[in-house]
Symmetry: C3
Subunit: 380 residues, 3 copies
């Protein structure tokens, strides 16, 4: 029923079932989210020793906390005794230790078992061995990244390399000094769509003219649908009458100190696989973290980061935040309208990518190779 011969202009997408099949999704959890570096929480959210956050990474609940030395540690959020989920809240602060509410097994901020009823009568229990199970952790760009793999891949290659590949030069991002920006706004989106649809959406601008009127007003070159932002190092230029990256083109906030003039009045977008998008504009940085929950359900947390002086001043961020908040809602709505068709028999071989979307095929090949290496049935 679908055409066997595809026009030379077009490239097929992934088969539809890869967006709905729970077995494929489980393979993605195992081979992608639970094996790669995963951007988990904003470092600044762990304000002091004992501060913790819990996040779902793949199928696991991960507990991330700050130690007395100010470092971050990550653990499986599970008591070693009978399996209680140690911290139920998304965030909190504990005084001295994590104590299991069931039998009071108690762990310090390094995860070591430091107390339990009758523990002294069980001297053979090694307190490191029965400590919380550690997860690799790394702070970068103001975020805590974790990796559930026994042998984590190279952070430099996978995370930093993705930025370098996109911008051509790491110095291009260093000026934004993201680690020292402050959180101005955070919005959480509950998206009823597969995570790959969200990435694909972020990777092309063929849709911009249709669904993003505010964004194409600010960035006129987006209106031609050529996804110009994906040329190495290229940043889309603001329109002539545009004063700032705001919903109405009005003046933005204070320019980030370290960027160079070349970066002023430009928008840069970076995808760090598997779940992070970074948007750079002169006065703020927007970071998306995706949390894939099911084949048809993804939570996206989006942070708007500004100079601390801007956030501290209490300035009105509404026009600034509203631009990308609208873009997000427009994008996620589109993704949610794709999801119901993924199981159709006419989508069994997928849809098609037009020339300005061809680079998405590279992402498709990457997903396919990651999960087919594991013997999963997804194929292009």
């Amino acid at each position: 029923m679908t055409s066997e011969v595809i026009s030379p202009s077009l490239i097929p997408t992934l088969p539809g079932h890869t967006y709905v099949d729970e077995d494929i999704f489980r393979a993605e959890q195992e081979e992608i989210f639970e094996k790669m570096w995963f951007c988990a929480v904003l470092s600044a959210d762990l304000t002091k020793p004992g501060s913790y956050k819990t996040v779902q990474v793949g199928r696991e609940s991960v507990l991330i906390n700050r130690t007395r030395k100010g470092e971050v540690r990550a653990f499986f959020n599970i008591c070693r005794h009978r399996g209680v989920k140690l911290c139920m809240e998304e965030a909190g602060v504990v005084g001295r230790a994590f104590q299991c509410p069931y039998h009071a097994w108690t762990y310090d901020f390094e995860g070591k078992l430091i107390a339990a009823p009758n523990l002294t009568k069980m001297p053979d229990i090694d307190r490191q061995e029965y400590g919380l199970v550690k997860i690799a952790v790394r702070e970068y760009m103001g975020y805590v990244w974790v990796c559930l793999a026994d042998e984590p891949p190279s952070f430099e290659a996978d995370v930093i390399g993705a930025i370098e590949e996109r911008l051509g030069d790491l110095r291009a991002i260093e000026g934004y000094d993201i680690a020292h920006l402050s959180l101005g706004r955070r919005i959480r989106y509950d998206v009823k769509a597969n995570w790959k649809l969200i990435i694909e959406n972020f990777m092309e601008c063929y849709h911009c003219a249709t669904i993003h009127p505010e964004l194409t007003e600010v960035l006129p070159e987006f209106a031609d649908g050529l996804a110009a932002q994906f040329f190495v190092g290229h940043g889309a230029e603001f329109g002539e009458d545009i004063k700032g990256f705001t919903v109405d083109g009005s003046e933005g906030l204070e320019r980030i100190t370290g960027i160079d003039d070349e970066q002023d009045r430009r928008y840069y977008a970076i995808t760090i696989k598997p779940t992070v998008f970074v948007n750079l504009v002169p006065d703020h940085v927007i970071i998306h973290r995706m949390f894939p929950m099911a084949a048809d359900h993804t939570i996206v947390e989006c942070d708007w980061l500004y100079l601390p002086s801007v956030v501290d001043s209490g300035k009105d961020l509404t026009a600034s935040v509203e631009l990308f908040d609208r873009v997000n809602r427009q994008d996620f709505d589109a993704c949610e309208r794709c999801q119901p068709s993924m199981g159709s028999r006419i989508y069994a071989k997928g849809g098609v990518l037009v020339p300005s979307e061809h680079h998405i095929a590279v992402f498709h090949d990457w997903v396919t190779s990651r999960i087919s290496a594991a013997g999963s049935p997804a194929s292009h």
Copy 2:
């Protein structure tokens, strides 16, 4: 635990698991709803060019619209580019074309791709080839019937033949001129039961005395439970004191012009497999369309059709509609009380049909043969 030897009076039903097993239901979707002619929408609901309705047929969303020439067309409700569900609403009207809200691919009412951003730069794209995927369509008896099969079966044999087989003569239905009746009332029922339970219920009147007091009052011969309405050509006669087919036996509406005197004061019922029931009475016609959604969930839409003069006059239809609305609720309630037992081990071999229900076994054999031809595990 259940008896191995069945009394000669009795015939076993389908095994219980065929009413709950999602694999069986998927086979029924593939082999029955997605391969047979399926009564989708009332033609009159597509009032003008650009009017459309969307319905679920099997596992697919189908978009049905009226063209500028006044004809009807049906398509898979999916954009050929990236798979967006084109129309989200159940019904609507578009001005000139169907435009995808994601990347603006645009299709005319015949499904042809007529526009897309940068389409002129992709001259190798065949606009028919990348048009909406067509579905076979047919108007009959005032309804639009669709068939998702690549090679649709004979409409004459399957649909018209079912009516002829029941009534003995097609002329018996022609007098009702259903295509020119008007919709007086539509009620949608959400039934938590397998579609086969609903058909079985409609096919026998052994339950009438127990659950349909109003109906047996109007049609006294239904009280003996012999399902007399299923003799070829037989119509159940109204009771002596009954003035019309109404909840209290009061006068009905204006008699349909074309019926003959033999058909006056009689009720005829027809089952058109897989999902349609037709009820004929002197002053109106009742059409049920089933939409099987899951093994244990069926939506039923029921239309009450009258002479246009009756509907246009604004006459009170309450007593007329209420009779079969009550019958429907009584029936669906019974079906919903069967559903929970279907998975029980004592229903593993099914229940039993009494002599006046024996004809249901023909339906059972038909279902079994349709899905077992496809290698499905259901067996009688």
Copy 3:
């Protein structure tokens, strides 16, 4: 990631997947709940002939009623004709018989088919053969126990034997004369946890000091976490200042007449596999019945039973009931905090039991042997 070598003090629990896997749960339904004696309803709830209750046992709905002779009978709650669920309510009273609401097949209190439309015209239908399908039933300790097995196991060995094994001597429970106590309060708990977690919780007191402040106040020996109550015949002694088994240690109700002085001021706990807990204190008896609904969902009904004179007098039972109601809520909350971790990869081999929990391993071995005998994949 988890330790391969376990400290000698510790014993592993069941693997985590046995608490979440629906296949394991189905095996438990088949091999445990549908084959063992199952404590279904309080006998006194069937107050008179025609009184009935419906309960879910494993995957089946069971109808239990009292006959004209005052005996109890249990049946699959399914009409033999077309499978209707006969009684939809949890409890009720019928006058003379159970009549199916669909086709009026009618069964007496012994389950015999006594009437149906046109039944006299089907003389070959054996009214016993087509009666309701019987389930083994037994009254004991004031409760109706049912067994869905074709050949029920020994009630004496499995139920009475469990009590004898725990108390050392059946006479120890006879004095409480539970069958003649009256229901003072019933509370139903909806627990989002696997039934085995609830049993394990009931079997150990290592958690008591942490989560049961009120209980350890009344029973000080529970504070040391040694689960002293599981020594054969041992009852935990009330604290010196404690006047009764109440939430604040205040005076309880009238002492049960038949207990001996040894049993006064003591608490005894008994687990009757698979789903019953019995707690004995001087003035009342607490009976828990579990109804496992899914791998992660268990309903627990808890009855507080007192001398009839206490219940009849209308005395305030609040302080008495509140003690174990709090204990229940504290316990079930702990179980619900274990459930989410059961699928984690670090719980793949389970957690560990400390020495005072070692006896839980006997329960684990028992579950494993029951379902692995049936070829199920759970292994220790």
